[in-house]
Amino acid sequence: MPILHFLADGVRAILRGTRAYWLWVAGLAVLVTVGLCCYAQQLMHGLVVTGLSDQVSWGFYIANFAFLVGIAAAAVLLVIPAYLHDRKDFRSVVLLGEGLAVAAVFGAMTFVLVDLGRPDRIWHVLPVLGRFNFPVSVLAWDIVVLTGYLLLNLGIPMYVLYCHYRGREPNARAYFPWIVLAIFWAISIHTVTAFLFSASSSRPFWNIALLAPRFIATAFVSGPALIILVLKAVRRFARYPFGQGVIDTLALIMGIALQISLFFVGVEIFTDFYNEGAHSASLRYLYFGLHGLGNLRPYIWTALALNVVAVVILTVRRYRRSSALLNLACVLAFTGIWLEKGMGTVIPGFIPTPLGEVFEYTPTAIELGVSLGIWALCALVFTVLAKAGIALERGDFRLADARAAGRPPKQPTG
C-alpha cells in the first residue's frame, strides 16, 4: 500500500531532526503541558476560574478564536498567487501556508472547546447522533466552515505531496476545483466568524455591516505578518530556500490591508461619535471608559499605536524592503491586530450589558495559561506538518526508495 508508505515516511521525517529541532519541540511540549495543567483546573472547578461573568460571558478564549480564524483565512494569500497567478516562487511555499491554516483552524477550534461549559457533550453537534441547529444557528455554520476548511487544507497538500512521493505530476484537473473552493472557503470562514458577532442585534457594537469587512482586512494584516516571520524562520532553520519575491509581495499586501484596516477604524469612530447615542456606548467604553471604568483602554490605544508605526514602515518602500524593519513591522502589526481584534472587538460587545450595566473583565492566570498552551499546540502542529511537508516536497523520501529498501510500512512509535 503506497499510502501507508507515504504516511510512515511522513512520520519518519517528523521524528528525524537536529538538536535544535528537538529543543524547539520540547519547549513547545512544556508550554502545552502548562496549558493542560491550567485546563485541568478549569475542568475541576468550572469556568468560574476564568474572569468571565454573566455580564461578559465570552472573553480571552473567544478573542483568540476570532483572531486565529483570521490567520487561517490568510493562507489564501499564498494560495491565490501560487495557483491562480501561477507564481512559481509562491508554489514552493504554498504548502507551508496550508500547514499554517491547518494549525490555525485547529487552534481556533481548541479555543472554542476550552470555552465550553460542557466539553463532555461536544458530540451533540454531530449529525444524527447529536442535534445540529443547521442552517439556523451561525455557530453551527461556523462549525461547518471551519471543519471544511481544515479538511481542504489537509487534503489538497496531502494529494500534491503524495504525487511527488510517487514520482508523478499532480493532476491539475483533479485538484484545481478544490483550490478554487478553498479560496472561497477561506473568505467564508472569516466572514461567518464575523457574522457570529454581527448577527447579535442585542449588541450594537457588533451589529454592524462593517464587522465582516474589518475582519477580512485585519486578517490580511495579521496573517501575512505571521507568514512572513514563519517563512523567514523556515528559510533559516530548515534551510528551505524560496524567492524573496514571496516576502515582498506579502509585505505589500499587508501594508495595503493595514491601511484599509485603519481606515475602517476611523469610519467606525466617526459613525459612532459624530452623533453619539446608545449605540456608541461600547466604543466609548473601549476608547475612553464609561462611568469611570476603562479596563480596555490600554489594549486599544496600544493596538492603535502599534498599527500606526507598522503602517508607516509598510507604506514606505525603503523601510518595507529592509529585512529588520519588516520583521519589526510584522511583530507590531501582528500584536496590534491581536489586541484590536481580540480584546478590542469581542469584549466591548458585552460592555455595557443589554441592560446598561458596565461590568469589567480581566482574564485570569488560568485563562492565560490555557491560551498559551493552545498557542504552543498550534506551533507544534505547524512544526510537525512543515517538517513532514518540507521533507516530502524536497524529495527526501520517495516511494521508490521505500520499496527498494523493502521497509515494511510500520506504524512508528514515539
Partner: protein
C-alpha cells in the same frame, strides 16, 4: 407604606392558588410585606454556613458510575421516549439526593393545550422591594453562592427610560424612593427568540405555551445564547450551584426548576413547574404591590387580556423584532 428592600424576604411559597386571583395575591402581598424585613442589600438569599450542600460533587452528572454514563449519553429531551424520560427523571432525583441530601420529586410537566402565557407588569405599582427576586431564587433552586437571579430590578430615574442610566445595585434604606421608579427585567419569552436561533445544538426552544425552555442535559455551555439575548435574561452556571439542604425546593420539573448541573445556561421559564398546573409564578405570588399580572393570552376573559386592551402598555426593545410576551404598563 415604606419598608426595607429585601432580597431574602420570605413570602408564602406554598399553597395551590389559581392563576389570576387578585384577592389572594393581595393577601399574600400583605403577608410578605409584614414578614419581610430582612437586612437591606444582602446579596441574594444568604446561605447559612455549614449547610449540607457544601460538597461540590463531580461535574459530569452524578457520583454513581451508572448515572454518570446515563447522563452522558442521554438523548435530547424532544427525542426521548416515555421510558427514557422516566429514567432521566429518576437520575435527577437520585442526583439531588446525593448532592443535597434531599428527596426531590421531578416530573415532566407538559404545556396545557390552548394556553399561551403572557406577563404584564405595572411599573406604577412596583416599588423595588425585590421580593420577586428572592421568591424566584427559592422557588427555582438557583445556586445561592453563585447568585444567579432570573429577575433584575432596575432603579430608574423618573425622568428617563434609558437603561444605561439604570441602577442595578440600588440599596437605599427604604423603598419607595422619591423621584425613582423600578423596572424588573426577566426573560421575555419572546415569540421570536434570538437565543433559540443562536443555539448550535437546539438545546433551547419555544414550547407550545410560549415558554422558552432549556434542556439542561443537552446544553453544551457555549453561551452563544447569552450573547444573543437583548434582555440579559440568560445566566450561566460558572460553578456547581450550591443550595443548603433545607432551602431546596423539592417540587421540580425537567425543563424548569430542577437542580442544574454546572456548565449550562439557565433562565426564567415562567415557573413552568407551577404555571403548567394552574398556579401563579412565584414572582407574582411574592409581589407585595400587586404589580404583576400573569395569565393566558388566549383566554379573552383573562386579567392580562384586560390589561393589554385597556392600559398604556409598552415592551422592552420592541424595535428588535423579538416580540416579547412580557409587557410593562402604567396606571
Amino acid at each position: 407604606m415604606s419598608r426595607a428592600v429585601s432580597e431574602g424576604a420570605s413570602g408564602d411559597g406554598s399553597g395551590p392558588d389559581p392563576v389570576s386571583n387578585p384577592a389572594r395575591r393581595r393577601f399574600l402581598g400583605s403577608v410578605a410585606a409584614t414578614a419581610g424585613c430582612a437586612a437591606a442589600g444582602a446579596p441574594a438569599a444568604a446561605a447559612p454556613a455549614g449547610a449540607a450542600a457544601a460538597s461540590p460533587g463531580p461535574a459530569w452528572g452524578g457520583s454513581s458510575l451508572r448515572d454518570a454514563f446515563g447522563s452522558l449519553f442521554q438523548d435530547h429531551y424532544q427525542r426521548m421516549s416515555k421510558d427514557e424520560i422516566d429514567a432521566a427523571l429518576a437520575r435527577i432525583e437520585r442526583n439531588a439526593k446525593r448532592t443535597y441530601g434531599v428527596d426531590i420529586h421531578c416530573e415532566d410537566t407538559k404545556p396545557i393545550p390552548g394556553v399561551l402565557f403572557g406577563y404584564a407588569l405595572n411599573i406604577s405599582k412596583c416599588q423595588g422591594y425585590r421580593d420577586c427576586v428572592a421568591a424566584c431564587v427559592r422557588e427555582n433552586n438557583q445556586g445561592r453562592d453563585s447568585q444567579v437571579q432570573y429577575i433584575r430590578v432596575l432603579e430608574m430615574d423618573s425622568s428617563t427610560r434609558n437603561l444605561e442610566e439604570s441602577e442595578h445595585y440600588y440599596n437605599p434604606a427604604t423603598v419607595p424612593v422619591q423621584g425613582k421608579y423600578f423596572m424588573p427585567v426577566q426573560c421575555m419569552q419572546c415569540e421570536n427568540p434570538p437565543c433559540v436561533k443562536a443555539c448550535p445544538v437546539k438545546a433551547t426552544w419555544k414550547e407550545q405555551d410560549g415558554i422558552v425552555v432549556i434542556d439542561y442535559n443537552w446544553c453544551i455551555g457555549c453561551r452563544y445564547c447569552m450573547a444573543a439575548c437583548p434582555y440579559w435574561a440568560r445566566h450561566f452556571n460558572w460553578t456547581d450551584p450550591k443550595i443548603p439542604a433545607e432551602q431546596v425546593n423539592p417540587v421540580t420539573n425537567y425543563l424548569g426548576n430542577r437542580p442544574r448541573p454546572r456548565g449550562v445556561v439557565e433562565k426564567c421559564h415562567f415557573c413552568s413547574q407551577r404555571t403548567r398546573k394552574g398556579r401563579q409564578p412565584a414572582c407574582q405570588e411574592a409581589c407585595p404591590t400587586g404589580a404583576r399580572i400573569f395569565g393566558n393570552l388566549l383566554d379573552p376573559n383573562s386579567e392580562i387580556r384586560y390589561v393589554l386592551a385597556n392600559k398604556k402598555i409598552f415592551r422592552l426593545k420592541e424595535e428588535l423584532g423579538t416580540e416579547p410576551k412580557f409587557w410593562y404598563f402604567t396606571d
